[in-house]
Symmetry: C2
Subunit: 213 residues, 2 copies
């Protein structure tokens, strides 16, 4: 059954791997699933044909036979349920790994998105410089707790899982801010994620779209 | 196997049902699982005993035999996997319902959290009044798309699911802002969620903590 995902024709980050198709490419590479990519312009993302696949007009989407999914978290979970390699087989460890998936997306990513909005969307607002430290501190609270929980562990809960895949993907969005470097254990954790061959292949594939090679 | 969840001893909302234990109580009521509640002070939430259960020092947690979970989204998914009533049996419909769970928590809730931060945490900031309309507009973009997707449907995808449970819970946080009333189809959708007997029981149980009855 062939798999088709969607991605930006021109990613706003110019190929830094921060668009959400990278999470999905990484998961597909971890489980060894070949996939095709349909690239979309910003205009095409807001048209009825795409809105029928993704109610919020975003990327990525996932098509496999008659199944259409949206939301990168849901798609990573779907892949993890269908293939070995992204969730432990033991029931309790599996449920804990899923807790980490939701923690990445609903506890750690929201303040990171808020910081990105403060940096980019409110670039020209008169309050930007005064407000940025407040927002950065909300992110630091979460990073401090995450770093304490990770301790000197390699991954969040024993073996690498979909929880790590999403957490590393979310933390990567912080690199430009310098905040990640304030937490060496987290910076090393993110580097371990990036060093995985599956991540390397995913990163190269999204970069190839940006560079045209 | 007895189930124990944690909740605020004194919820910051004074019993309006907006704390995340309500989502969990609602799911437990939908699937007919009895549960016990351990109430926590703000101080106890930051102590090592609780941090061992919840790395981010929040509520709710979920304990069932030797299993300990955190993140309300993960716990609702765990309950939905173990019991009938929150996810469709058919594989494609089940995966779509899980897409809606992630959409509630990773696409719709982040701008709503940002609005709550702007209203509460930045109450005394000199930029608050000038900035609030910008943040409200980010929420409206999502509500407009969600309303278009819902159309005149009763629930997001055929029957009521864990996706609706989380989406209604997230939208309820908007009531005080008045934004929900700008989208009558969404206001009616939320009201349908609140009218479910399981929600009524969950709401009454969290209110009883606040009122002491």
């Amino acid at each position: 059954m062939s798999i088709v995902i969607t991605a930006f024709e021109r990613s706003p980050d110019g190929g830094k791997g921060l668009a959400r198709d990278t999470r999905l490419r990484w998961a597909l590479e971890e489980v060894g699933c070949p996939y095709e990519v349909r690239l979309l312009s910003f205009q095409a993302m807001k048209e009825p044909a795409h809105l029928a696949l993704h109610p919020f007009g975003q990327i990525p989407t996932y098509e496999e036979g008659g199944l259409v999914l949206f939301e990168s978290g849901a798609i990573v979970l779907h892949l993890a349920e269908q293939h070995a390699g992204l969730l432990p087989a033991e029931a309790k460890a599996r449920a804990r790994a899923i807790s980490w998936m939701f923690a990445a997306l609903n506890t750690v990513e929201p303040p990171i998105l808020e910081l990105a909005n403060a940096r980019l969307l409110e670039r020209d607002a008169p309050w930007q410089q005064a407000r940025l430290p407040l927002v950065a501190e909300r992110v630091r609270v979460r990073l401090r707790q995450l770093s304490a929980s990770l301790g000197d562990g390699e991954w969040l809960d024993a073996d690498f899982s979909a929880g790590d895949l999403l957490m590393v993907s979310v933390l990567l969005r912080l690199r430009a801010s310098g905040l990640l470097d304030e937490f060496p254990a987290l910076a090393a954790y993110v580097a371990r994620g990036e060093a995985r061959p599956a991540y390397q292949r995913a990163f190269a594939a999204q970069l190839a779209v940006a560079t045209g090679h």
